[in-house]
Amino acid sequence: MHHLVLFNIIDQIRSLGWPGAFSLLRNGLVLGSLYALIALGYTMVYGILKLLNFAHGDIYMVGAFIGYGVLVAFGGALSPTIPIVPLIILMFAVSMAGSGFLGVAIERVAYRPLRTAPRIAPLISALGVAFFLESSVQLLTNSAHYLYNGYQLGGKNGNFGPLLNPVFTVDGIPVTVVQTLVILTAVALMGVLVYLVYRTKFGKAMRAVAFDREAAAMMGIDTDRIISMTFFIGSVLAGAAGVMYGLYLGDTYFFLGFLFGLKAFTAAVVGGIGSIPGAMLGGILIGLAESFSTGYVGGQWSELVVFGLLIGFLIVRPTGLLGSHAIQKV
């Protein structure tokens, strides 16, 4: 039985060949940059509050919907009323701001009153927020799927738009504008984040709060403000990922955030929870794992492959790839 599965996979690898492998690599990188952006939000919040923010995946989903709302407000993908470059920038800006404030509001209402509560309380609260967001969007959208139709954006008469133009091709496999856009935007945002966290005064305060909240508070750091800012930044990244997802895959609905968020959290765990470079690395790894398992094993198994990866990592190396081993002091 096992041999059979293995031979199938080898056959699949042979028949797809190098162009197939390259297209899987490309898909994996694009998907992985989305995972990485969301995983950053998880890992930052976990690092600073030791809280698994279940609602983060749903913030990403709301971000995708805000981007869709902006697109529709300017005529939709088929007949945009303004040129597409400012339109896309506007979609990103509004969605990022909206998700950011949503994240801050969630922290304010659902997590801040629970700072001193037993640890299970904020987790259950986060679960409640996640479910509240999901059901609310389900109510507002009547459980419908909403199509971005990003591939038609800017195209004449509903044809394929410039987003699907190839930037370059490798052995006949094109890398399109939207794929390049996703990867480059993700890299740029991560660059900004790394600068913010490691090169500014705010980042220093944030790392101090993550290291020891009480000590940081005694050093005069306004920890509540830093925590709010952390939620804001993480949610901004999730909102950007939502718009990218919409432009790239083009279909958004209320349950989108749950599984995607779960995989992104897996990415954060694989990379080492609390570690910012780890989240990026883990995101790319999970994206590649999902893409290659879809291509070689079959799409219906890709979730299980990611799950196996999570279990394996937790058993073999619970600190993740780049995480540091925290020593618990009593």
């Binding site: 509560a117 987790l123 509240f132 749950f258 299980l304 999570l310 279990i311 619970p318």
Partner: protein
């Protein structure tokens, strides 16, 4: 307890303010912990009910439940539909809650994969007792197998979670539940010529429960069987909780490190708690499938998980009696919110009842009065403004199911406007966030219009979408309970001493 009816039952009555000021902090008791416990024990009518409740001995409560449950089909739940919707499903929720209460409540492990165990038990029953593979084993054989099938992944997960902190465990179990859904719904590997889980269609036509040749088919038979099963499981878990193991679970819940130092085998206890939980889930999962006669993977979604969490958290984590109370309340909310219900007016009473209860718990009393006046006044003001400016078409709508007088206070447009409704809902969420940020009198002043807005949204939007509404309420309830009353209705307050 026998001499005067007004003596409080529990041994620690809240101290009078002046006497505690005289005697200072109690010796041997952390003053903050004591005041916290006192405050949460006293809070409002819920506190006094739970105090009265605690003075009843456990055995009496248990016997009262069994007696009332056995008599219900003869006076309250006479119709077949009521018995099925209220009786059977409440008992199923109790069963599920009892199982989840072991690992979340007793042992303090955040288990988010519980629905998978419920599903595994169900699928095991559907595979071994249906026409799908042509196997028709009796229930007394299949149910132990179903429980075993649910226990094996529990042991594996518990084992892999040995080294994991609480949050990692949560994510692993949540992912396990999701992987279970994907496996049953999408993967569906072919075994013996058929997809083993039946894909999206699930496995139809499961046999009715058959014990030793005796078939349970009518709702009444199933109801009495379930009362017995729930009572048995509840009694077993009660004794487990009272035992050495139960004490060790509590110890490792409160402080795993200290428990470990006291040579309590924390990891083994975690696995044991998992096994207990998932075995109960497997049992009731099998019964659930036998009642519904099919196993479909969409039944085991995260919605069910949230519902069971709502049950045990509303009732109080770690409290067996709380599971019963929580299940009754949650299931009634579910049934009353259904679109085709025999009690359409009950939706309204749920909403206004909760609002009135919350306002009534407000202290001091004049704040509650100001809030009431503010809410009612803002209603009439808004109603007058809308009918004067936007015309009578915006205010002449009818409420759902009776209570026509409400339409003089709540703005109900004649025709439902989707976008306006969406804006109202978003406005309500924003208003609640703002109210949560305000303090003191500003909060009371802002709360009045917010409650009115909630009433408008409830009458216009939420009663139109009952299925989603229940889940919105549950999500909001989890957050609200965690902030205001984390011990639920009947749980004991926990204080983490740092």
């Amino acid at each position: 307890m026998s001499d005067t009816p007004d003596t409080p039952g529990p041994p620690e009555p809240p101290p009078e303010p002046q006497s505690s000021a005289e005697s200072g902090p109690k010796i041997g008791v952390d003053s903050w912990v004591a005041s916290h416990g006192g405050r949460s024990g006293r809070s409002g009518p819920i506190g006094s009910i739970s105090r009265a409740w605690e003075s009843i001995p456990d055995v009496a409560r248990f016997l009262a439940f069994v007696a009332i449950a056995l008599s219900l089909p003869f006076w309250l739940l006479k119709s077949e539909g009521d018995l099925f919707n209220f009786g059977l499903f409440t008992l199923l929720f109790i069963g599920m809650g009892l199982g989840l209460n072991v690992d979340v409540g007793f042992a303090g492990l955040l288990d988010l994969g519980y629905v998978a165990a419920f599903g595994i038990g169900g699928y095991a029953y559907a595979l071994l007792s249906s026409g799908y593979y042509g196997i028709h084993w009796p229930a007394e054989v299949v149910i132990p197998i179903a429980m075993l099938a649910a226990v094996i992944p529990a042991a594996v997960l518990g084992f892999s979670a040995r080294r994991l902190l609480g949050d990692y465990l949560a994510i692993v179990t949540l992912f396990f539940a999701e992987a279970f859904l994907v496996f049953t719904n999408v993967s569906n590997p072919t075994i013996f010529g058929k997809g083993i889980t039946g894909g999206a269609n699930g496995i139809p036509q499961a046999d009715p429960l058959t014990f030793f040749g005796y078939q349970l088919t009518s709702s009444k038979q199933l109801y009495f069987f379930l009362v017995g099963a729930v009572a048995l499981v509840a009694a077993a878990l009660y004794f487990a909780n009272q035992s050495r193991t139960g004490r060790a679970w509590r110890a490792s819940r409160e402080d795993p490190l200290a428990a470990e130092v006291m040579s309590i085998p924390v990891n083994r206890l975690k696995i044991l708690a998992f096994i207990f939980s998932w075995a109960v889930a497997g049992l009731f999962g099998a019964i659930y499938v036998a009642i519904l006669t099919s196993a479909v993977s969409t039944n085991y979604s995260i919605g069910l998980l949230i519902t069971i969490y709502a049950v045990i958290i509303l009732g109080g984590l770690g409290s067996i009696a709380g599971v019963f109370v929580g299940a009754i309340i949650i299931n009634c909310v579910f049934v009353f919110l259904e679109p085709q219900t025999d009690h359409p007016e009950a939706k309204r009473w749920i909403f206004y009842g909760v609002i009135i209860l919350l306002v009534a718990t407000l202290k001091p009393w004049y704040k509650a009065v100001v809030l009431c006046v503010g809410t009612i006044a803002s209603g009439f003001i808004v109603h007058a403004i809308v009918s004067a400016t936007a015309g009578s078409a915006w205010t002449s709508g009818k409420t759902v199911a009776g209570a026509g007088w409400l339409s003089h206070w709540v703005v109900i447009p004649k025709v439902s406007h989707g976008n306006v409704n969406n804006l109202l809902y978003i406005g309500l969420v924003v208003a609640v966030v703002l109210v949560a940020m305000l303090k003191g009198w500003w909060r009371i002043i802002a709360l009045g219009p917010t409650i009115y807005l909630a009433a408008v949204v409830w009458e216009n939007v939420l009663t139109e979408n009952p299925g989603v509404t229940a889940f919105i309420l549950f999500g909001a309830m989890l957050v609200g309970l965690m902030i205001k009353r984390p011990q639920g209705l009947l749980g004991t307050a926990r204080v983490e001493i740092v």
